[in-house]
Symmetry: C2
Subunit: 377 residues, 2 copies
Amino acid sequence: MITDRIAEFLAQKQPQSPCLIVDTEVVKNNYLGFVNALPFSRVFYAVKANPAPEILRLLVSLGSCFDTASVEEIQMAFKAGAQPHQVSFGNTIKKEKDIALAYQLGVDLFAVDSFEEVEKIARVARGSKVFCRLLTDGAGAEWPLSRKFGCSSAMAVDVLCFAKKLGLQPIGVSFHVGSQQTHLAAWDHAIKAAAELFSALAKHDIKLKMVNMGGGFPTQYIKKIPDLDAHSQVIKQALIRYFGNALPETIIEPGRAMVGNAGVISTEVVLIARKDRTDDKRWVYLDVGRFNGLPETLDEAIRYKIVSERDGEQLAPCILAGPTCDSADVIYEKTPYLLPVSLQVGDRLLVLATGAYTSTYASVAFNGFEPIKTFVI
Amino acid sequence: MITDRIAEFLAQKQPQSPCLIVDTEVVKNNYLGFVNALPFSRVFYAVKANPAPEILRLLVSLGSCFDTASVEEIQMAFKAGAQPHQVSFGNTIKKEKDIALAYQLGVDLFAVDSFEEVEKIARVARGSKVFCRLLTDGAGAEWPLSRKFGCSSAMAVDVLCFAKKLGLQPIGVSFHVGSQQTHLAAWDHAIKAAAELFSALAKHDIKLKMVNMGGGFPTQYIKKIPDLDAHSQVIKQALIRYFGNALPETIIEPGRAMVGNAGVISTEVVLIARKDRTDDKRWVYLDVGRFNGLPETLDEAIRYKIVSERDGEQLAPCILAGPTCDSADVIYEKTPYLLPVSLQVGDRLLVLATGAYTSTYASVAFNGFEPIKTFVI
């Protein structure tokens, strides 16, 4: 959303285009929204969504914990003031030296989905707590969920038994319903699978106590999404349905839903052209594209709302593309985008809900273009 | 290719994984190969393929010119010793302020494919030379060529006439057959279209003199490619067939074919796992992936040759993925990759022909992972 603070920043500072502006007030409200809707869950912010120091410091001050993907992210969380017990090393693919380093730094909570990873942790992070990630199908998620993470339930039983055998603490199970998940039923299915795993482990004398419900909470782009209350209800009902009165501890790992709607990308129209005089659609080229801020438009997966000062005027479909010499740097083509007919080269556009998975994804210097600059206000 | 120099560097320096090593001797041979095969063409190296200063300096010393995508790339070429007349601003999508800056720096050769771009150049780079890019279909190219660049032949006539009217010098036409193009017929079709444009412009009293034949020359990955001599023959024959004895000046813009086979990425196996005990395929996770060095594995477009010290042992198919927590960070899945059955976590693999479109494409810090480090030797 374009908050008053963002509008004021843009008007007063007139920052060079392109840039990302993130309003920490929105992040704060999102955090409080999660605490309010799911008061029984601990929040582990998915640092990868946006690791800006100002965001991490704010979340530390609010009491958030952190889900991290690498030693670098662990160090960012610590630098922002997080304590080791507030950090989970949530990547199931870790080098042994990184596990050792994390453990030396005090982190003792690790994600696994394979025997090999359990062996590494047992070797260099003795006695740590591990949770096993279950494979989910991601149906209903807008950003594709591959089979990259997680294992089958049958294998998860073996992996957690193996962890116990190697002296680790098998404390629970995790899943991920898929990023920008809009089908609420996905939560029910995943929680059911988690409960079944608790029962299966109990037969092996392992009492699990924690369900890491992951992220996947959607942020508002163009398509309407279920709100946090609707999520809360489905999640609570499923927990009660499948766990009865032996409710587990739960963790959530919002990333997109914590920072997505807090950010706005300001971009400039570089060129408007047709390929032929008879072309019915314009090509509109922006100074931001697939390689410097909008990577999630890959396969047109995430469809952002784009605002122009000419909104309200007549609209016509156009093909949107980025500024590089790469043919793959096209934003929306299969489903053309409606923009004002009167749009001009030099116009500023605002791409909404771009606080997550934008800035750190940007290329180092592809085509010589600098990564997008972030202003956290 | 793993040259002796690269093998020696890896053995002696034992650089941290992942990293890219580029052998300038190979770049030099590639440059001389182009000069030898197409002695009548001037070489404009596509800086975006790999802008490492050592590569640019080498190419300056050999007499190369440079095709650039941004003011930053122009400045890199100058810093390496290039003169303004050796630089073309080849991006058809340019901010007016960048055109002005390039012109102030002495650059007076610009690509266009639209009226709007001609207007910008006429305003801030008075009297400059422009060439118009024709739309081609890219059939046969392994890296997808969209309709993002170029215009129809009919429109190119109008665009170049318009350039003349605004006081610019319409000097020629450009095309791009598509990156990693392996169908030689694509060159014939494009050169034919260029010749037709020369005739059409002659009727408007505009005598074009230059054909910028772009890049697209392939580098050797796994699939066999036609060699440079085969390219040279097809190109020469087409020029003679369509231009007769009024041969135009020609330019080529190799990027991938100049540096691709000069680079090797050294990577480490982070994890080998199955999703279930009954899985017939292993997932092999590397410390390099879609976001830190192998972006062109998008949609499995470019299939790299990967070498292991265990080559020669029994092979089995596996799914290859990168190290980040992003589900899209999968390298080869639709067509699994054959790797030794005995492969172990910690093994070093070498990904060949990774000198182009790898290092500068890498994300700034996605998931906290650093961009891949380059060593130019």
